[in-house]
């Protein structure tokens, strides 16, 4: 036997087509997802008169620009001509280049990082790219998945490969049992708060430990989704029986003899005992509490039992300047208990936290109560919506005064026009709290679905454990 290898190393080695002297590698891409955004890539291919090399290794999914209202009217329900154009343009580009396409009227439609796994398009050992930072979500299956820009999308379309330099590896070990009321979102916010938004820079993270192994696939996807918010290239979790049984029988999962062969390969992927990682970080599951962000980058996260930090107490000048600017933008004063922050609106959605399990956990908090501020839900996919409705979750939310919308990126980024009103304070299950992301001057507090549900009920940031 050779040297013990970590999982990322095994996946990397299998995908190197060629290597240049300075170590830059031509990396093969097994699947590339496109949405409405990187249309520049198709424009560029047309200019150069190039086809897509392997069109069936691409998939185009409309998610960023789809409205969450009037969807039964299809394209006719979209008033804004620019938004309609973005969706039609994706359909046209997919058709012209022979690329599989999931559009507004397809029952499979949803946010691409939700749909990919749902359809079995994401399989252990793959290299997956997409023009979106949260492509890292797919790492939950033991996949090297990462976001790329439009020019790189063009390169992948034309060549099915990408020039890339091998990142370093960081193992984050989370052992123990998560306390009640603590979700995967709290785990990843705690990780980012600990290592910072540049803590994973240049690294691929492997999440390991008993707390991670105990998570279901939806929870693992939430953790990997926000790897990018710690600056990491990607986040991976070793595939196991939980992953395999999730994939079995899905529309595009391998079948029959292929399934058996694939399974044997997938079982060889986890890191060997004693494998080396360039960095290691440990967290105890028992120490993690429900988290919420108070600032304008995801590392500005604290347990809900804390107070707004005081910049005067921070030695590092740059950090102090960041906190001052963040508090100014967020309209918060140092020392204010987080549970005293009133919110104007709640959003439950996005590829981070709008899978079935997320909606189930939120519904459990909402049941029999009423929202006191405007709250809306955009399920992660049309299929998630349908399943939630089959189980009556929609009724729980609607009875509590929530808006039950259709699936799209929605208020995570507002491409489709779903913005909070200027200056509003929004409790959101999405992955990013940047200035102006959810609308002009909008103040975003990131939290888990049950915490968002609790905030909708009380109208302020709330420790969901005190509601029970």
């Amino acid at each position: 036997m050779g040297n013990p290898q970590n999982m990322f190393g095994k996946i990397w080695d299998r995908h190197v087509v060629a290597q240049r002297e300075d170590g830059e590698s031509l990396l093969y891409v097994d699947r590339n997802f496109v949405h409405e955004g990187p249309f520049y890539a198709f424009d560029g291919l047309r200019l150069d008169n190039r086809p897509a090399r392997r069109p069936l290794k691409q998939i185009a999914i409309a998610d960023h620009y789809l409205p969450t209202l009037n969807r039964d009217r299809g394209m006719a329900g979209i008033k804004d001509p620019e938004i309609r154009h973005m969706i039609e343009q994706l359909a046209r580009n997919a058709r012209d280049f022979g690329i599989p396409f999931i559009g507004i009227d397809d029952a499979r439609q949803g946010i691409m990082h939700v749909v990919g796994a749902d359809l079995g398009l994401v399989q252990p050992g793959m290299v997956i790219t997409a023009a979106d930072s949260h492509t890292t979500t797919n790492g939950a299956f033991g996949v090297f998945a990462f976001g790329i820009g439009a020019s790189e999308i063009k390169h992948v379309l034309a060549t099915q490969a990408l020039w890339y330099r091998k990142p370093r590896t960081l193992r984050i070990l989370i052992d123990g049992t998560l306390p009640g009321g603590v979700t995967a979102k709290d785990v990843i916010l705690a990780v980012i708060a600990k290592i910072g938004i540049s803590g994973g820079s240049g690294h691929v993270i492997e999440y390991a430990g008993s707390a991670v192994r105990a998570m279901n696939m939806e929870q693992r996807m939430t953790v990997c989704n926000m790897s990018i918010e710690a600056g990491a290239r990607a986040g991976l979790i070793a595939p196991d029986d939980i992953a395999f049984s999730y994939l079995e029988g899905r529309e595009f999962s391998p079948r029959g003899g292929d399934w058996e062969k694939a399974l044997a390969f997938w079982r060889s992927l986890p890191s060997d005992p004693g494998a080396h990682f360039d960095k290691e970080v440990e967290l105890m599951a028992e120490d993690i509490q429900p988290m919420v962000t108070w600032g304008t980058v995801p590392e500005d996260a604290l347990p809900i039992t804390s107070s707004v930090p005081d910049p005067a107490a921070v030695g590092n000048a740059e950090q102090r300047a960041h906190i001052e600017r963040a508090l100014h933008y967020m309209g918060l004063r140092p020392g204010l208990p987080l549970t005293e922050i009133k919110v104007d609106r709640v959003f439950i959605g996005s590829c981070t936290n709008a899978r079935y399990d997320d909606l189930r956990l939120a519904a459990a908090v909402v049941k029999g109560r009423r929202a006191t501020v405007p709250a809306m839900i955009s399920p992660g996919s049309t299929d998630v919506k349908r399943r939630a409705e089959a189980d009556g979750l929609d009724k729980v939310f609607i009875d509590a005064g929530f808006e039950w919308r259709d699936s799209a990126c929605s208020m995570c980024v507002g491409s489709n026009g779903d913005f909070a009103s200027p200056g509003e304070r929004c409790a959101s299950t999405s992955p990013r709290n940047f200035e102006n992301r959810q609308g002009r001057g909008v103040r975003t507090h990131l939290l888990s679905p049950p915490m968002a549900a609790a905030a909708a009920i009380t109208g302020r940031l709330t420790d969901v454990r005190t509601l029970r």
Binding site: D22, F101, S133, A158, D258, R432
Partner: protein, 212 residues
């Protein structure tokens, strides 16, 4: 793609760290065709007020920085999304190089694809450069790619690192696809082996999702 060799130009200091891609270009402009001129969207929320009028206190709205070709910025510049519009806007404004102690995960690679040079120097060095620029507004810096140095206002050179393959492409203004084509033999071999060993990765069942 325009090549980058040596540049002497006005440099604008931006002290703030963590300038993210939403700040560089708000999402709502990413549906515009490139032909409209993305320069008008760069730093939109910082540069313009709610009525669309320029905010006079924003540095790039002031002379002589309107004609800056270099930005010297805080750490983690361009963090956030993969949106390449955040590079298109900067390039269209006329910026050719950005000096920072670190860049967001996608920003630097998107820069290289568009002939915009991301230069990484130590945080102390970048802070000292910004101090020089604040002291002498409108002063020029020189960036020499063949020698890999930034020459400051006192004539001192600060060496930066760049991967040789990136450097070659920047110097010649070469597109990645052209380079990849040199490896077509290796690619054919790789793909036929993969198709034989793991046929389920070919994507054939997805043909059902292709529309005509």
């Amino acid at each position: 793609m325009e090549s980058f060799v040596r540049l002497t130009a006005i440099a604008a200091p931006l002290d703030q760290p963590d300038i993210d891609t939403d700040m560089l270009i708000p999402q709502r402009f990413l549906r515009k065709p490139l032909t409209v001129g993305y320069r008008n969207f760069m730093f939109f929320n910082d540069r313009f007020d709610a009525e669309g009028k320029e905010k006079p206190d924003f540095i790039l709205n002031r002379e002589p920085y309107r004609s800056a070709k270099i930005l010297v910025t805080g750490a983690n510049f361009g963090c956030g999304s993969t949106r390449e519009g955040a590079v298109y806007a900067v390039v269209d404004f006329g910026i050719r190089a950005i000096v920072a102690s670190s860049f967001g995960a996608f920003y630097a690679s998107n820069c290289y694809q568009n002939g915009l040079l991301p230069v990484v120097l130590l945080e102390e060095t970048v802070a000292a450069l910004r101090a020089q620029l604040h002291a002498l507004p409108g002063v020029e810096l020189t960036i020499d790619l063949p020698d890999q140095v930034v020459i400051d206002t006192k004539g001192r050179g600060h060496r930066f690192e760049i991967e040789p393959s990136r450097k070659e492409r920047m110097l010649q203004g070469l597109d990645d696809i052209r380079i990849t084509e040199r490896y077509s033999g290796a690619m054919e071999e790789f793909e036929s082996r993969l198709d034989a060993e793991m046929p389920w990765l070919s994507g054939k069942p997805l043909q059902a999702l292709v529309r005509r």
